[in-house]
């Protein structure tokens, strides 16, 4: 799901593994249907999304199974464009947006004018976080998976996924192999996921670290390949306790820049007029450069999960994940859920999650003229190789509090409802600015607040 524009979804490895995972006390041949609906919203009228999902699994008499999952994603709202909060209003124009709007006006295309009017030209008030306004996106993702038990306690999973959105397409294939040992008390697993993404924004891929009004397009489309490898051990420790340890490696190569995000260039904390500004209707256009991220990213993560049965029908689920990558980001995730069975009629699952990450090496809230960027006349040169102000790459911590209620109905039918509230806290070091300048004293990180509701309905027949 792209709750952020064109972020690829590593859906297929999860589907592959969850197929292997759901080897519960299932009887022979049946169908299993799981449906869900996510309603997500962020504070400050940022993004909101609605996402229905349906997943169907057919279990066969030979203990193999096939699964298909369809996810529809409808997203609207605004997300930070990367520019810094300033004490003065800022007008954002993009040459490509203007060109597209001009063409729409020439063609008398009212729909296009209505859709892109705000994106070609919009104003952020003093003290507000600049947002890329009013976009709407619809994405469809389909994933398929086939599980087959082999001889000698081996199980094989093969799968693939396809995802499409206006300007972003993703294809992936995956495979996983597991082996049961020690009377099924130990399971060793190995999974591989290969993903290929293509991004084709309407206005082309901008040349990184160039002015947003320069209309300097590098190409029309760009691609990225991701390879993921996961090694896992699941071990039954006691009658009440099962544990899982996974080591994941990820290599991503290609285009990682967000083609819609840029950074403010400031001179001693003051906004600078873009030297290429053609003075559109007397409006001052400041200097912003498109972001740039490295072409390669390697990640390693270690995940440990423990599930302990408490009394007869309760359980504690506690997990920890450590991640580190070569962009300078380290993260820790701690997750705790308690399953409380209420008189066998329904259950409650209170949930808590704590997350923290360090910033990417090239993360900065804005670029400094002289240090990060040099300018002579109308020529602008970046002195840094990479830069991004995307809050996703900044330093922050986040806590989630949630509750799920599950009600078993007749036969195998179950209805569930959950609510989660998420809050980020800024942990970035403040980048100094000159006293009294446009950027002085302003927030440098937009802490995200979001909450979501999920409704689920599942059954077998």
């Amino acid at each position: 799901m792209q709750l952020n524009k064109r972020k690829p979804v590593a859906v297929s490895l999860a589907l592959a593994t969850s197929a292997l995972l759901n080897q519960t006390a299932a009887a022979a041949e049946d169908w299993q249907v799981d449906t869900g609906l996510l309603i997500y919203s962020e504070s400050d009228s940022r993004v909101s999304a609605t996402e229905p999902v349906i997943s169907v699994t057919r279990n066969f008499a030979d203990e193999s199974s096939v699964s298909a999952r369809l996810t529809l994603d409808s997203l609207s709202g605004a997300s930070p464009n990367g520019a810094a909060v300033a004490a003065i209003p800022q007008t954002f124009t993009s040459a490509s947006g203007i060109a597209r709007l001009q063409k729409a006006e020439d063609d008398d295309d009212d729909d296009e004018i209505e859709e892109y009017g705000d994106r070609a030209y919009y104003v952020t008030q003093a003290g507000d976080t600049p947002y890329d306004e009013n976009f709407e996106d619809n994405r469809t993702t389909l994933s398929l998976s086939w599980l087959r038990p082999l001889d000698n306690g081996f199980k094989l999973n093969l799968g693939g996924a396809y995802s499409t959105e206006g300007d972003f397409t993703s294809y992936s294939i995956n495979t996983a192999l597991s082996k049961d040992l020690a009377q099924n008390n130990t399971t060793l697993s190995l999974g591989v996921n290969l993903e290929f993404d293509e991004v084709a924004p309407d206005s082309g891929i901008p040349q990184p670290l160039t002015s947003i009004i320069a209309a300097d397009t590098a190409s029309n489309t760009d691609t990225k390949q991701v390879t993921d490898l996961v090694f896992g051990i699941t071990q039954v420790m006691t009658r009440r306790w099962v544990t899982q340890l996974n080591l994941s490696l990820s290599q991503s190569s290609g285009h990682h820049d967000d083609p819609y995000k840029f950074l403010t260039v400031a001179d001693q904390g003051n906004l600078i007029e873009d030297p290429n500004d053609n003075g559109l209707d007397g409006v001052t256009t400041y200097l912003y450069l498109y972001e740039h991220r490295p072409e390669d990213r390697q990640k390693i993560s270690l995940y440990l999960q423990n599930k302990v049965a408490v009394f007869s029908n309760d359980a504690v689920d506690i997990s920890y994940r450590y991640m580190t990558d070569d962009w300078g980001i380290d993260s820790n995730t701690f997750d705790l859920t308690y399953h409380l069975d209420v008189a066998g009629q329904f259950y409650l699952e209170p949930h808590f999650r704590y997350y923290e990450q360090t910033a990417a090496d090239f993360y900065t809230p804005f670029l400094e003229l002289g240090t990060d960027v040099s300018m002579s006349g109308t020529e602008i040169n970046a002195l840094v190789d990479y830069a991004s102000a995307d809050p996703r790459l900044g330093a922050f911590s986040a806590t989630t509090y949630g509750m799920k209620v599950g009600v078993p109905l007749f036969r195998s039918h179950e209805l569930s409802l959950s609510y989660e509230a998420y809050q980020q806290q800024d942990k970035n070091s403040y980048r100094e600015t000159a006293a009294g300048s446009d950027l002085d004293g302003q927030d440098q990180f937009a802490e995200l607040s979001a909450n979501w509701i999920q409704v689920g309905y599942s059954f077998r027949w």
Binding site: L3, L21, T24, N185, V242
Partner: protein, 69 residues
């Protein structure tokens, strides 16, 4: 290979410590004791966090449960 060896060692150590009989898997066989008892919900949550944070994945595989067949 360097990361594989500690994992294999861990596997050997792990398999030494459990002596849980096949008929003692009753509690682990309960649906809520599956390592991922609500895959759709996990997928939703993983996607939200993936799009708002810089980390992703980690969770994975099968095992545990009833250990039948």
């Amino acid at each position: 290979m360097k990361t594989l060896i500690p994992l294999m060692v861990a596997a050997l150590l792990f398999s030494g410590c459990a002596n849980v009989k096949p008929w003692q898997r009753d509690l682990l066989a309960k649906e809520h004791m599956a390592l991922d008892s609500d895959p759709l919900r996990s997928a939703f949550n993983d996607h939200i966090y993936f799009s708002k944070e810089a980390s992703s994945g980690g969770r994975g595989f099968g095992g545990g449960g009833c250990g039948c067949n």
